[in-house]
Amino acid sequence: MTVLGAAAAPLLSVEGLSVEFRTRDGIVRALDRVGFEIRRGETVGVVGESGSGKSVTAFSIMRILDPAARITGGRAVFDGLDLLSATERELEGRRGRDLSMIFQNPRTALNPIRQVGRQIGDVLVRHAGASRGAVRSRAVELLAQVQIPDPERRYWAYPFELSGGMCQRVMIALALACGPSLLVADEPTTGLDVTTQAAIMDLIDDLARARRMATLLITHDLGLAALHCERIVVMHAGHVVESAPTAALFASPRHPYTAKLIAATPKPGVPLDELAAIPGGLPDLRGALPACRYSPRCERYAPFCDEPLPLQEPASGHTVACWKPL
């Protein structure tokens, strides 16, 4: 994209990713030509409202989409392999080892009737070829690494015996067991307390830094993304509307939606009457859609907005999909 960035090839490069869902009421065009890149060791945030396509993007990269979904176009090249066209066999060797995922709700993502230590052991046996004997001590080590107190004892705990924060730590241990180079974290702290959220995010940051692991952080919380990401990708109704380094995005958002999102997020020093609301809702993704899916909600709409969207690059590494950017 930029001259500077060309030196280091991206670890993951997503281009033109389009996904449809077949439903009883027609085809839902959930993603339309989504593209972004992540370099080694970098943390990139994907933000947007629910229904904007954040999780579908993550699920597409992991190739764990619902059977009703169809990838209609695009590439997601990870370390030389196009994840979107790879065979199930090729994926099996990579998923859980080179790229892994943390899910939103640790309680439903963990197996409720298997001790957490054994669940970590399963991953080690499958991907690291660890011997049965070595597995237990390695699993305990991993539990200790995610700062679970008394890991020897917690190895034998079932998920219901642990708090939400502890379950999330187990899932991080599970995801990091084989030292992946890319971690996809889908709302890893939603539903957790702020103090627990801070501890979990610090843990992911520390481990990412220590291993030069790249992280794709999917969140609806702009504040969280600001704190932990080097770059942020803003999504709206299946489109990437803006992508920029974090500081630039907050200092000078170019897309009207990004600006609204920032103004709508409560922060210290901003009273209630200055808090913005974003009028309207996400458009129905079935049937005909305008070129810019934000245009029905946009205050800056002009007739020429109905032309096919441009991808402008007002500054290096800062792209915006808008005819009339701020």
């Binding site: 629910s50 939400g164 103090t195 610090d202 907050f250 709508a264 997020t265 210290p268 209630l272 808090l275």
Partner: protein, 332 residues
């Protein structure tokens, strides 16, 4: 300010079975421990704390869905704390304390239309007779919360999150309550509609003269609506005071940690984040002499393990007793 709700030394203990305990021994989970505070007429009081700190139990005690173990609750000058929860359901005060729930999807009956949901409390407790009058009242409430009337025939699954929460709010204000308990009213909503719902709640409070108890773990949101805030930790109130005081000059180490963890969008790099290490103490049979925060507290010392710190005034100015800035810490 005239007091609407007065909670005095309220406690709630649940009997629990403890693995490996001697037979015949009794053990209690101390969910709420010696909590006192008041809410004035027209006032909004925020209640913050992490999950498991007893917020929900306290709310159930105030809304009289649970019986207290100790302490008194006065509402509108009447002692409602001693009325058994099952009898409170048929008392006139029942209509005056209402609640807005966290998840608008889970808290609406999926087989009720928006109209039925809003009409239900009026039919049960409102004393309005005749379907014409009922319809008029529901229409008025619908307008009040900014829900288009044509949506009244819809079921919850046909409404958006923001619309569902408006239905939940209309239902809660249908009986013109004096006290509204808001349990994380916007945490399930997108940030795009959060502001609208918060402004609606703020506006309704002024128009209807209600008092709010606003429960949330999002401090950035509490700050927007509340006049005063209560910080709870493991069943006890550890700090209490006007929002501006508590947020700008937090005196309890737990409040400080909590505030330091709140992400500040656009605030640049993370400030001096206070990391809490260790696990919270067990709420089962807690030692009454040890500070509940001891062990996780970055400033803990010997005295904290020997003597439970009590709430004392820490404010710069000594306001009226009920609204002063107080904290329960030996070092505050």
């Amino acid at each position: 300010m005239d007091t609407l709700l007065e909670v005095a030394s309220v406690s709630k203990r649940f009997p629990v079975a403890v693995k490996g305990a001697a037979r015949g021994s009794e053990h209690f989970l101390q969910a709420v421990d010696d909590v006192s505070f008041s809410i004035g007429r027209g006032e909004c009081v925020g209640l913050v704390g992490e999950s498991g700190c007893g917020k929900s139990t306290l709310v159930k005690l105030i809304t009289r869905l649970l019986d207290t173990s100790d302490g008194r609750i006065w509402f509108d000058g009447q002692d409602i704390g001693t009325v058994p929860a099952d009898r409170f359901a048929s008392m006139p005060q029942r209509a005056l304390i209402q609640m807005v729930f966290q998840d608008p999807t889970d808290s609406l009956n999926p087989r009720f239309t928006a109209f039925d949901t809003i009409a239900d409390p009026i039919r049960r407790l409102g004393g309005i007779s005749g379907s014409r009058n009922l319809g008029k009242r529901v229409d008025a409430l619908t307008d009040m919360v900014g829900l288009p009337r044509e949506l009244l025939g819809r079921y919850p699954h046909q409404l958006s999150g923001g619309q569902k929460q408006r239905v939940g709010i209309a239902r809660a204000v249908a009986l013109e309550p004096r006290l509204l308990v808001l349990d994380e009213p916007t945490s399930a909503l997108d940030v795009s509609v959060q502001a609208v719902i918060l402004k609606l709640l703020d506006d309704l409070r002024r128009r209807l003269g209600m008092s709010y108890l606003f429960v949330s773990h999002d401090l950035n949101v509490v700050r927007l609506l509340a006049d005063r805030v209560l910080v709870m930790y493991l069943g006890r109130i550890v700090e209490r005071g006007p929002v501006s005081e508590v947020f700008e000059r937090p005196r309890h180490p737990y409040t400080r940690a909590l505030l330091s963890c709140v992400p500040d969008p656009g605030g640049g790099a993370a400030g001096r984040r206070i990391r809490l290490s260790g696990e919270p103490r067990s709420p089962i049979d807690p030692d009454p002499r040890v500070c509940r925060f001891y062990g996780r507290c970055p400033d803990g010392h010997d005295r904290c393990a020997q003597e439970m710190p009590l709430l004392h005034s820490v404010g710069l100015d000594h306001l009226a007793v009920g609204t002063a800035h107080v904290a329960a810490c030996h070092l505050a």
